[in-house]
């Protein structure tokens, strides 16, 4: 399936400073829990502990599925669909 994956709020620094990733995942179906591992293995460039912690995203990262908070979509159990737009955003604190 084809997915649009975006990292922002500074998180892109872990992914070769690239925000937008258009990827082909060679699976018929995949839940978000497993997609996180796929991202770690295929997109993440450095310091995995700043992206994942205990099988999920580390605290302070918000996950959006088609502009919705992933908590509304089932969280880690969400079944990813073809053409989904996923956003991983690091919360900002500056002012």
């Amino acid at each position: 399936m084809r997915l649009s994956i975006e990292f922002s709020g500074g998180l892109e620094l872990l992914f070769g400073k690239k925000k937008q990733h258009s990827v082909e995942v060679d699976k018929k179906e995949i839940v978000l829990r497993d997609l996180l591992q796929w991202i770690k293995e295929n997109l993440l460039k450095e310091r995995p502990e700043l992206f994942l912690s205990q099988q999920t995203v580390r605290p302070g990262i918000l996950v959006l599925i088609n502009d919705c908070d992933w908590e509304l979509m089932g969280g880690l159990d969400y079944k990813v669909e073809d053409k989904d737009e996923l956003v991983f955003i690091s919360t900002l604190h500056g002012g």
């Binding site: 500074g10 620094l13 605290p59 908070d69 955003i89 604190h93």
Partner: protein, 283 residues
């Protein structure tokens, strides 16, 4: 009678006339704005536009809290201050600017840090709270103080070319802890001093924050409760995201809260909330 909070005098009617004639505000909305009080925590990049536009709109009483003094390197984004204010406490400098801009508004300067000792006392004295700070621990402290005092919290943040705005603990929506039950690892936290910020980005985000305050005060429009605005200045892109509802298990706003009073946010976040974050931070 110019001292009455329930009516508008002639000076006010003439001054706010352009707002009054809008059906979305009207005389009733303007009276509600006048009766409202707002505490702005932070007189920096976000607090500058928030203070100016809330004063312009006629919010009756504005508290402005900041412990820092104005530095020249702040001025690229902190447009309420002037070069002659360098070295002066930001709250004093901002208060002076507000008075010169709108003498009909009551201003209260708080030259102090926002701490577990003064948080509940300060928050209780205002109707709406604005988080215009720049560090994680203070954001948890402000959130908990607002939930415990049952006040709506209009929150924003900016870094580099990005901004975020939302409204917490309002209309039954989520609080900061509902979204972020655990604080981020200290090494992932960057502030404007270390990460940099284009000055007009907190300008945009702070104005959006002021709009949310005014809508809540006037009782008009839809608030950003349970919504998050993500702003990317480079693209430029504005994305409005739908957030989770209030979490019944939330430690502070849940049905059986474990946090029933303020805690030690410094150790909770593993960082000091008046220190600048460490320099090796990257995110």
């Amino acid at each position: 009678d110019s001292s009455s909070v329930d009516t508008l005098n002639n000076a006010e009617i003439s001054r706010y006339g352009r707002q009054l004639i809008m059906p979305e505000i009207g005389m009733q909305g303007q009276k509600k704005i006048k009766k409202s009080s707002v505490l702005i925590i932070g007189a920096g990049g976000l607090g500058s536009p928030v203070s100016l536009y809330l004063a312009g709109a006629g919010i009756g009483r504005i508290g402005i809290l900041d412990f820092d003094t104005v530095e020249a390197s702040n001025l690229h984004r902190q447009v309420i201050h002037k070069e002659s204010s360098v070295g002066i406490p930001k709250a004093i400098s901002a208060g002076r600017a507000i008075r010169e801009f709108n003498s009909l508004v009551k201003v209260e300067e708080h030259v102090t840090a926002f701490t577990t000792d003064n948080a509940l006392g300060l928050v209780s004295r205002y109707d709406i709270i604005v988080d215009a700070t720049d560090n994680v621990a203070t954001r948890y402290l402000i959130n908990d103080a607002c939930v415990l005092s049952n006040k709506p919290l209009v929150s924003a943040a900016a870094l580099r070319m990005d901004g975020q705005v939302t409204v917490y603990h309002h209309n039954g929506g989520p609080c900061y802890r509902c979204l972020y039950p655990s604080p981020p690892p200290a090494e992932t936290v960057t502030d404007c001093s270390n990460g940099g910020v284009l000055g007009v980005v907190p300008g945009i985000v702070g104005c959006i924050q002021a709009l949310e305050v005014i809508k809540i005060a006037a009782g008009t429009g839809e608030s950003m409760s349970q919504k998050l605005l993500l702003f990317d200045g480079m693209s430029p892109r504005y994305t409005m995201v739908k957030l989770r509802p209030r979490n019944k298990e939330c430690a502070v706003c849940g049905d059986s809260p474990s946090v029933t009073g303020l805690i030690d946010y410094k150790s909770f976040c593993g960082s000091s909330y008046d220190d600048k974050p460490c320099t090796r931070s990257i995110l």
